[in-house]
């Protein structure tokens, strides 16, 4: 494999990892606060459609982004209502949200655009376009480092840089601020927060809202940056891979980056090479596709280091007995 092929694969790793990373961080906020979220998929899908639709109508990718975030947050609000206010089953709520998004996006897309449940192709400013980092062209002649800078680091859309910047920001927010301390505490032991005089409900809604924003950005990236418009079920299980990455990352932001890059790489390899021939032994592409899920099961089974979720995860907080 030459350098160019390698760079191409890594470049597509970055592109494919971006939505995973954003969704994974969304899940991280929510689950760190004790709210299971298997509705990441649905929120991304909803955002992908509304961002693409609004971007097409207004011609502005940024307005699309806002619409995507708003639609994702509506689903977050439903999830919060069900799992925080009405103390319902968080898993069932997540499942419902996934189907709601899968259905609504196509119904509305068909009604608005009549193209079989997709949006028209986005062009120009309706899409997030690649940004060339300073001097990318000039430096591309330098051996090794030049191409890396030009091909790998430069030339992504602004959302990619936002996603990668979200990692240190999340780390900082969780581990260096009052809000983060309380957020982590409420997912571990809500009673400790309650007896310290801080609202459990408020913190949990805040976490669910942040998850909505991040899923919104992830969806907008899919619909207006990675691809030029929305197609039916375009998230294609990314929400669940993000969930897998979250477990893989043991609910930590930097690990989340590594996990999503790994899963992005697996996807990139599967896209680029199809079947991998290892001198007579062929790894089928389907195995590469399934690898993130297999890895997650192995992690969950506790064979490779135990993944301990936040202790209060999934449990509605009930104070009075």
């Amino acid at each position: 494999m030459d350098l160019n092929t390698l760079l191409l694969v890594l470049d597509s790793t970055v592109r494919l990892a971006t939505p995973l990373l954003l969704a994974c961080l969304a899940g991280l906020y929510s689950e760190r606060a004790g709210i299971f979220d298997i509705g990441l998929e649905g929120k991304m899908l909803m955002a992908a459609f509304f961002s693409a639709a609004v971007a097409f109508v207004t011609g502005s990718a940024w307005l699309g982004l806002l619409a995507g975030i708003a639609s994702s947050m509506v689903l977050s609000a439903i999830h919060g209502l069900a799992s925080i206010t009405f103390r319902g089953n968080q898993l069932i709520s997540g499942v419902a949200i996934n189907f709601l998004a899968a259905g609504m996006t196509v119904v509305v897309a068909q009604s608005w655009f009549k193209q079989g449940g997709r949006t028209p192709s986005l062009q120009g400013d309706a899409r997030f376009n690649p940004i060339d980092l300073p001097l990318a062209e000039t430096l591309s002649g330098i051996p090794l480092l030049g191409p890396i800078y030009h091909e790998l680091l430069s030339g992504h859309t602004v959302l990619v840089y936002i996603a990668f910047a979200a990692v240190p920001f999340t780390w900082w927010l969780l581990f260096r601020t009052r809000f983060g301390l309380r957020l982590r505490a409420v997912g571990e032991n809500p009673e400790s927060v309650d007896t310290a005089g801080v609202s459990v409900i408020g913190l949990r809604f805040a976490a669910v809202a942040i998850a909505g924003i991040l899923c919104g950005i992830a969806g907008a990236y899919l619909g207006t940056a990675l691809q030029a418009g929305f197609v039916k079920d375009m998230t294609a299980g990314r929400g669940f891979i993000a969930l897998a990455a979250l477990i893989f990352a043991k609910w930590r932001p930097w690990y989340a980056l590594s996990a999503t890059l790994l899963f992005g790489l697996l996807q990139a390899i599967a896209v680029r090479f199809q079947n991998i021939d290892l001198g007579g032994f062929v790894i089928p592409v389907q195995f590469m596709e399934a690898l993130p899920y297999i890895l997650t099961v192995v992690i969950l089974a506790g064979f490779v280091g135990k993944a301990i979720p936040p202790r209060a995860g999934g449990e509605p907080y009930v104070k009075e007995r």
Binding site: A82, S83, F86, V95, F99, L100, M104, V107, L243
Partner: protein, 365 residues
């Protein structure tokens, strides 16, 4: 004391949820510029007014009965099996292998063989998540979701590389041999003068689904195993007191659940397609969640809810054919039913409970 009678909780809560889902769906239909009344009429016409429509409705209902029962049995042991989709896919593989590689003399024997094959493969696919839950505490919801995706990859690999028909580009097995073909409702109920259920996919496995409903009913409410499953599902501490092994119940309940999901393939793979195709499940594994929630995990409820969703599916297809409303509207309804019966059930229940409390107070004690 109970705040409201049992029958009200079992009947009114799902009914009320359905009404809420229907109202919201009507709003969606209005919002996209169609008439809800007209849409409903179209659905009824297409799904219920002709025998061919019924043939489709009952075909879909058959799938949903199997997957709904699968989710329900797991729910009785307080487990949320989202893996019905993957278990049904593997069930399809079992059915296909049985139909392709065993020379059956007659469809009745092939049906028995396929039933065993589908159930075994479905159960096997549920075994690993069940074992990991019981022994290592790995959350069954996450593992079954992962196993859905793994199932798709396994099937994709086998269909593309191993089982594919010679000279075909389509990832599917060859057509099953003639003796394995199941009689359709058209074969069974048409007379010489009238053709009923014309070219509809409903077939004899509908009756297998009814048998499965009866089986689950007997299992859950009439056997020691069912007693233990329900006990464990209601209270783990009490089950421990009674000497009921949580590990055993977790694994057995999931095996039964997986087997039921796998049985769906008899209907789709042997009964309808007569070969194994990649997307034979078409999300029926997930609709089982809505069916089980709405049917309150009772076989009678599951039967009714499956018929309802069968109607919605067939009606939805008609809608998509005659109007600009796409089939996915049904997915929206499905989502709303899951939301109201499974996650926002407290919201639905509260006003009903208040109503009953008010009625109760009026009566002199």
């Amino acid at each position: 004391m109970e705040k409201m009678p049992r029958w009200a909780d079992a009947v009114l809560v799902p009914l009320f949820s359905l009404v809420l889902a229907a109202i919201l769906s009507a709003v969606v239909i209005l919002a996209i510029g169609e008439s809800p009344v007209k849409a409903f009429k179209l659905m009824v016409d297409g799904a219920l007014m002709r025998s061919a429509g019924w043939g489709y409705t009952l075909y879909y209902a058959t799938n949903f009965m199997f997957t709904g029962l699968a989710v329900a049995v797991a729910f009785h042991a307080r487990m949320f099996n989202i893996g019905g989709e993957g278990q049904a896919m593997l069930g399809g593989l079992g059915v296909a292998l049985v139909c392709l590689y065993i020379p059956w003399p007659h469809w009745t024997l092939a049906l028995i063989g396929a039933t065993v094959g589908g159930a075994l493969f479905g159960a096997a696919w549920a075994l690993i998540p069940a074992y990991l839950q019981a022994k290592r505490g790995s959350h069954i919801v996450i593992t079954t979701i992962m196993f859905n995706y793994i199932a798709f990859s396994v099937l994709n690999y086998l269909l593309v590389n191993v089982l594919i028909a010679k000279g075909s580009m389509d990832p599917a097995t060859p057509k099953f041999p003639e003796p394995t073909h199941l009689p359709t409702f058209q074969d069974m109920f048409s007379t010489e003068t009238t053709t009923l259920f014309k070219s509809a996919p409903a077939n004899v496995s509908f009756f297998l689904a009814i048998l499965a409903c009866i089986f689950v009913w007997l299992l859950i409410w009439r056997t020691r195993l069912g007693f233990e499953i329900r006990s464990f599902g209601h209270s783990e501490t009490a089950a421990n007191y009674a000497g009921i092994s949580g590990v055993k119940i977790t694994i057995i309940a999931m095996l039964i659940s997986g087997a039921l999901a796998g049985l769906m393939a008899v209907n789709t793979t042997q009964g309808e397609a007569e070969r194994l195709v990649l997307n034979s499940t078409e999300g029926a594994g997930f609709i089982g969640i809505a069916v089980a929630l709405m049917g309150r995990n009772h076989p009678v409820g599951v039967f009714i809810a499956a018929l309802l969703f069968g109607f919605l599916y067939q009606g939805g297809a008609e809608l998509a054919f005659w109007t600009s409303i796409p089939r996915e509207l049904i997915v929206v309804i499905q989502a709303l039913v899951i939301l109201f019966t499974g996650a926002l059930d407290n919201m639905v229940r509260m006003p009903l409970e208040r109503l009953f409390l008010a009625l109760h107070k009026k009566e002199p004690n």
